[in-house]
């Protein structure tokens, strides 16, 4: 079932995350859209620091592990949420302690910033948003007057967001290093917009998704994929839509433990640092 290719030789998880330098700007999906949780374990174990996380458009448990592990300097997000479990506990603590920079945005502006990077342009315009206090704190949002309008027509320009790395988990890669993401097109946008794309997958299939008319439309071509590692159940415990469900009891245990720094450290010793696949 697995096969390496010239285009995308398979990495170990360890090697995959070794390509993420300290201080990198890393685009991550929200907990429901394909999180490379096994890679995040490996990254935490390595002791990475100074990451600038870009939530596409929000972050949850995945980011909280990294924040708890001291890996994160900045989060750029439309929201920090674990859904029914509320605000991620280590994020809440870091925010209270002033230990983390937060670039507060709004979902469509994050998507537009990534689309600007995808199109290789310095900005994209967006309607709405004007009047929100968010605009007061964003030097990378500039209001101009729409040059196509006859009368005054203020519109916001959103600067391109160019992550160094996009990191996510998907159901499968093929033998040529193409990655199938189905309708999760935000992952494709992340890959197009980022300088490097690293992916963990449940499995590698011995076929070519681009030659299969039913798979091609949901496939990120290997052109955009810089590294692939196999990680079976690599999205545990947040789950992989259509493949396996989230594990609410595991998440609840984490949330209970991570309310304090000590509790996180205890939890991490046995659940984060100890469980890194080779």
């Amino acid at each position: 079932m697995t096969e390496t290719t010239a285009n995308a030789p398979l990495d170990s998880l360890h090697d995959l995350v070794s390509r993420i330098p300290d201080g990198a700007k890393v685009a991550l999906p929200p907990d429901y859209s394909g999180c490379a949780m096994a890679a995040v374990r490996a990254l935490s174990q390595r002791g990475v620091t100074g990451l600038h996380l870009v939530g596409v458009p929000s972050l949850g448990l995945q980011a909280d592990w990294l924040i708890g592990a001291g890996a994160v300097a900045t989060v750029e997000v439309a929201a920090m949420t674990m859904g029914e479990f509320g605000i991620p506990p280590r994020f809440a603590a870091a925010q209270k302690a002033g230990e983390i920079a937060i670039i507060d945005g709004t979902c469509p502006a994050i998507h537009a910033g990534l689309q600007a990077s995808e199109k290789g342009v310095p900005f994209l315009p967006l309607r709405g948003i004007l009047g929100s206090d968010l605009t007061k704190h964003r030097t990378d949002w500039i209001e101009i007057d729409n040059p196509f309008a006859d009368t005054a027509d203020p519109i916001l320009l959103i600067a391109a967001i160019c992550p160094d790395v996009a990191l996510f988990h998907a159901a499968a890669a093929d033998r040529n290093g193409n990655v199938w993401i189905g309708v999760r097109r935000e992952l494709m946008l992340m890959a197009h917009a980022s300088r490097m794309t690293l992916v963990t997958v449940e499995e590698v299939r011995d076929c070519d998704f681009l030659q299969d008319e039913h798979m091609a439309a949901g496939t990120i071509p290997s052109l955009y994929v810089d590294g692939i590692a196999i990680a079976a159940r690599g999205a545990d415990p947040v789950g992989l839509s259509g493949v396996y469900d989230p594990q609410p009891t595991v998440i609840a245990e984490y949330v209970a433990a991570a309310k304090s720094a000590d509790g996180f450290a205890d939890w991490a010793a046995t659940h984060l640092y100890d469980r890194v696949p080779a």
Binding site: C107, G131, D153, R185, E186
Partner: protein
């Protein structure tokens, strides 16, 4: 049917009953994630609507029509293809400003909420945005929000095709008057007086001499809710559906 108390059940019913009629006749209603009450109201409105009403539930598989990634909801709204949407808020003020970010002064909030999500954008682009907040208290409904995630109104000359339409709480329904830029008490839920509302509301609002009660469900509608709608809701919100609606009524 589980251990949800009777008060909570009644409030939830009243909120659904308040929202649904405000959606009937529209073409497309979208509902954000983690919004079981608006989802229930939207699915009920679809069943009651004389013309085809499309309901898109984010987070649902059966009712999520999007195939262009997470940006599509926002593009779709900007294209004018979404008639109604729902926003909640940690704070909502009398000018319909919404605060989803935190209490206190930015950035060192005393209490931080999850975040603004797409509110700053969708509030400007979807014609009928219904605000909903079950907790109706001076803490949630304030004179002025601490942080404007999404502004309720805009100055003349700002492109804006959307905005607040109503605010539905556990006590009552306010309609929003976009010209006066103020809420007007539209109805109170069963057992709630206008004095109760005034005492629980941190912002000033308009009110006519006589305020009707929020209409409840007739037996046919209740039957629909406890059968077909409950089943549809359960696809996305199984616990909510079993807590609130009898599927064997």
């Amino acid at each position: 049917m589980t251990s949800i108390d009777q008060d909570r059940r009644q409030r939830t019913e009243a909120m659904v009953a308040a929202i649904a009629p405000r959606l009937v006749g529209l073409r497309h209603v979208a509902v954000g994630a983690s919004s079981p009450i608006p989802a229930t109201a939207a699915l009920l409105a679809r069943a009651l609507s004389p013309s085809p009403l499309r309901v898109s539930l984010l987070g649902s598989r059966a009712h999520n029509p999007f195939t262009d990634g997470a940006k599509e909801l926002f593009d779709c709204a900007a294209q004018g293809r979404i008639d109604a949407f729902f926003l909640s808020g940690g704070q909502i003020d009398g000018q319909a400003n919404v605060n989803l970010l935190g209490i206190g002064a930015y950035p060192d909030f005393k209490a931080r909420f999850p975040g603004s999500f797409g509110s700053a954008y969708l509030y400007h682009l979807i014609p009928r945005v219904i605000l909903f907040r079950e907790e109706h208290s001076p803490r949630t409904l304030v004179e002025r929000v601490d942080f404007i995630s999404a502004s309720g109104t805009s100055p003349a000359g700002i492109y804006r095709v959307g905005g607040p339409y109503a605010l539905v709480t556990g006590l009552c329904v306010f309609d929003f008057d976009r010209t006066a830029k103020r809420f007007r008490l539209a109805s109170t839920h069963p057992g709630v007086t206008t004095d109760n509302v005034a005492a629980a509301t941190g912002f000033r609002f308009d009110m006519q001499d006589s305020v009707p009660e929020t209409p409840g469900f007739d037996p046919t509608t209740r039957q629909l809710l406890n059968t077909r709608i409950a089943d549809e809701v359960a696809e996305t919100y199984p616990k909510f559906a079993s807590d609130f609606w009898q599927t064997n009524a």
